[in-house]
């Protein structure tokens, strides 16, 4: 027999009076009482944890108070009338000290050097044999130009130094 065969979804399984007497009789039976020890055990749990709850609430309250004090302090400090005796003295205006350029005018002007170097490498290829080993010549040519400029008169002297370096090296054959 299926447990769901009775289609009863309301609060009363059938007629209320149908089981009234039997329900009354069962309700009148002396139900076994839990011991006082159980009451103490359960209440101890509830008290201990409620103490934790209180401590948590007290912690939250303390944090809120601290935030309130800090916030109020910040507002008070921000809106407080400044005490002139405790303020640092305002910065004193000082006369601008002009640079004395005369000494520098008397000093000899230092020349300005401008230097430029250009170079190129030329491969002359195999230029001969030393024994059976071919020899390659590489030529590096460079020009170093230097300008010495007088900053006062803007006159300049140009010095050009050409250089050539020749390298002869054997070539590995296979």
């Amino acid at each position: 027999m299926n447990e769901h065969d009775d289609d009863m979804t309301d609060e009363s399984p059938g007629d209320d009076r149908e089981f009234l007497e039997i329900e009354r009789r069962i309700a009148g039976l002396p139900l076994r009482e839990p011991s006082a020890a159980l009451d103490r055990r359960v209440m101890r749990e509830l008290r201990s944890t409620s103490w934790l709850e209180k401590a948590r609430l007290m912690g939250l309250g303390a944090a809120a108070m601290l935030a309130l004090v800090v916030g109020a302090g910040a507002i008070v400090m921000h809106s407080r009338v400044p005490n002139l005796s405790t303020l640092p003295p305002p910065p004193q205006s000082r006369p601008i000290k002009l640079l004395e350029t005369r000494e520098k005018d008397d000093a000899p002007a230092r020349p300005l050097l401008v230097r430029q170097s250009t170079s190129r490498i030329t491969d002359d290829g195999i230029i001969g044999f030393v024994g059976s080993t071919p020899v390659q010549r590489i030529r590096q040519q460079s020009i170093q130009q230097t300008w010495v400029i007088d900053p006062l008169t803007h006159k300049h002297v140009q010095v050009t130094i050409p250089r050539e370096q020749v390298v002869v090296k054997p070539i590995q054959t296979f």
């Binding site: 009863m8 609060e11 089981f19 076994r32 359960v42 509830l46 944890t49």
Partner: protein
């Protein structure tokens, strides 16, 4: 306008003007204390009907309240049913642990204190009460559980369905069968 949707843990949440709030609130310890004060006999009887051992039943009730105190979760449904459900689970845990002797579980005078039958009542009535108590004790466990929750805890069938995790028609059917069985017993005595 309230919008409801289901959280990951199955509880309902509602959208309000203040944002997202769970539909259920946590059970405070004061509420737990109130529920215990009001239903302590029925809670103990439920645990007894499952464990069949007074000491283990007390352990189950204590364990359940200890867990309820530690858990800070929210309760979406009926709070009384929630507490009964916790006690039932703790009692089932006690049985599963196997710590209860088989002969203890078969005992027939667990739920009721037959010494407490009023000696002033008629001898026939006293005998009838003893027989009725034995008949309740002898009910199948699922039917006995529903009878305890319905008669001694005074819970609605919807609450009992929530506690026992059974469909409502199943709960009412169990109750009706238990009542029919007990009525037959009563009729046989008269």
């Amino acid at each position: 306008v309230l919008l409801f949707f289901q959280n990951k843990n199955g509880s309902l949440a509602r959208v309000t003007f203040d944002g997202l709030q769970p539909a259920g609130e946590g059970v405070t310890h004061q509420e737990l204390a109130d529920i215990y004060e009001r239903h302590r006999r029925a809670l103990f009887a439920l645990a007894l009907s499952i464990t069949r051992c007074p000491a283990k039943a007390e352990d189950a009730v204590h364990d359940a309240f200890a867990r309820l105190c530690r858990v800070s979760g929210r309760v979406a449904g009926d709070r009384v049913a929630y507490v009964f459900s916790a006690v039932r689970n703790a009692a089932v845990d006690q049985v599963r642990r196997g710590a209860i002797e088989q002969d203890v579980r078969r005992a027939q005078d667990v739920l009721f204190d037959l010494q407490g039958i009023d000696p002033r009542q008629q001898a026939l009535d006293a005998e009838r009460d003893r027989s009725m108590a034995a008949a309740v004790e002898g009910l199948p466990a699922d039917q006995r559980e529903v009878v305890v929750l319905r008669i001694y805890a005074g819970l609605r069938f919807a609450q009992i369905a929530q506690i026992t995790s059974a469909p409502l028609p199943t709960v009412t059917t169990r109750y009706r069968r238990a009542m029919q069985r007990l009525r037959l017993k009563l009729e046989s005595m008269t």
